[in-house]
Symmetry: C2
Subunit: 281 residues, 2 copies
């Protein structure tokens, strides 16, 4: 518990590498990235912020997503984070370039790691992407994949019902199977060899997606690759914390109790105390 | 267009009965109530506010819903409305008593009109209610029905996937049929004779719900009854506008163009210009 309390209590006198890593998301899905960071970098302190008062972002305009993202980043910077992970595909796809222009702290999104992982996984065939309507409409995945290898076939499909299904805890069964058949049927017929799960909620559907697509198609989620990229940037910048166990502090903008109850599904174990804060509004 | 422009331009010198009626909702569903008001009270000016930047409310905490509702009401009061219609079941169920305590303007929600309509429709059997998780958890419908007639059987079921489905424009087909079978199977087996559509999105599913439940079960949506109640209060308070055609002004907090494109499905015809405003945050 001591290490947990330390996570958010750095100030400007704390040595840079002892400061926490900030992670933010529109809601709860980013905890899959937090779990990967915890496994790879157990000495790091983490601060997580989920904007549950305004979730979902995937159907909001770019202007609103940009505003919400900046408010979340400033909340974390006020807590002296040394690096920010944007653990939300919609924000990574829509708002990351602007955030990087405005802020000097290192910022890592989940789109670039997902693209890197997909390029390693594909056998030169077709790559599929599923995401929220905003992520797919941004073209962020499609343009990076095509730039890396213009010979690739790239197919993207928006799946607006998967986030509400995941938040309802409905991860398998007839309704999920039928929904996946509708959303993924075209990708299956196009013989993709790799599917990017372009939303932090989607790893929860891995078993159901694998059942529909078959074992030969690789499912890429960016959580592990994002944690790898965080490690390499911390190493490069001499910001790694190498001693002692790291703690985690969790903040949300609405309904901390409900968040706590659902968190285990995304994080794998109990997340500890969840505090409510107000952003912007 | 002249009458349309007049709708939001009353000031403190405008005679009370020439002032607009304010209507607010978490998003777009409240337009079904606006359509009913327009048919019943064609001389009234209307101002609609949809909080599309923070939609949906049905999975947010009561504290957040209360705060958002007060901000929406104050926005309308700044435009000199003579009466406010809370065209959102979640806000009506969760926040209306507090709004009535705080504000002196007449406030009409959609729960009480829905309850009145259901009591007229039932043959003394069982009444079903479907709504968002927040509406169902509030018990607002259940307690009013049981208070009016303690002998009634009342069954409520939360249907979290129906709002995202309606917003996606998915109103029929296999996925909708399967979802309705899951949500409504228990209500059908309980032999309800009346079903309250306790969310302004749900009237769009009337054909699919009627197909599943059969023609003998009455579907109650509160839009018409709410318009009736608005008329009787305006009459009682001598606030009715009786001359000339009324106009309508529409404001949203995010994505006015997308709102405009979807509006026809809820309103029945084109809604005209949609303006973006910022509330609270």
């Amino acid at each position: 518990m001591t290490s947990s309390n330390q996570a958010g209590q750095s100030d400007s006198s704390t040595p840079l590498n002892d400061r926490p890593i900030g992670v933010f998301d529109s809601g709860i899905g980013g905890l899959t990235v937090v779990a990967a960071l915890r496994r790879r970098l157990p000495s790091e302190h983490l601060i997580y912020l989920g904007d549950t008062a305004r979730v979902p972002y995937g159907t909001k305009s770019a202007a609103s997503v940009n505003r919400y993202a900046l408010e979340s980043a400033l909340f974390l910077l006020n807590r002296q984070v040394k690096l920010i992970v944007v653990a939300c595909n919609t924000v990574s796809a829509v708002a990351l370039p602007r955030l990087r222009n405005l802020l000097s702290v290192p910022l890592i999104g989940v789109v670039e790691p997902g693209v890197a992982a997909a390029l390693r996984s594909t056998h030169g065939g077709a790559i599929g992407i599923i995401g929220t309507p905003s992520t797919v409409a941004s073209g962020a995945y499609q343009s990076r994949l095509s730039a890396a290898n213009p010979a690739l076939s790239v197919l993207a499909k928006a799946c607006p019902l998967l986030v509400p299904m995941a938040e309802e805890g409905r991860l398998d069964g007839k309704l999920v199977d039928l929904t996946l058949r509708e959303y993924l049927g075209g990708l299956k017929r196009a013989s993709i060899d790799t599917l990017i799960l372009g939303c932090t909620h989607y790893p929860l559907f891995k078993p159901a997606i694998a059942k529909f697509l078959g074992a030969s198609i690789s499912l890429v989620d960016s959580a592990e690759t994002t944690a790898e990229q965080v490690e390499s940037i911390l190493l490069r910048e001499s910001l790694l914390r190498t001693h002692g166990p790291g703690g985690i502090k969790v903040f949300v903008t609405d309904a901390p109790r409900r968040f706590n109850l659902t968190a285990r599904r995304f994080y794998g174990s109990s997340i500890g105390a969840v505090r409510k804060v107000t952003l912007g509004d």
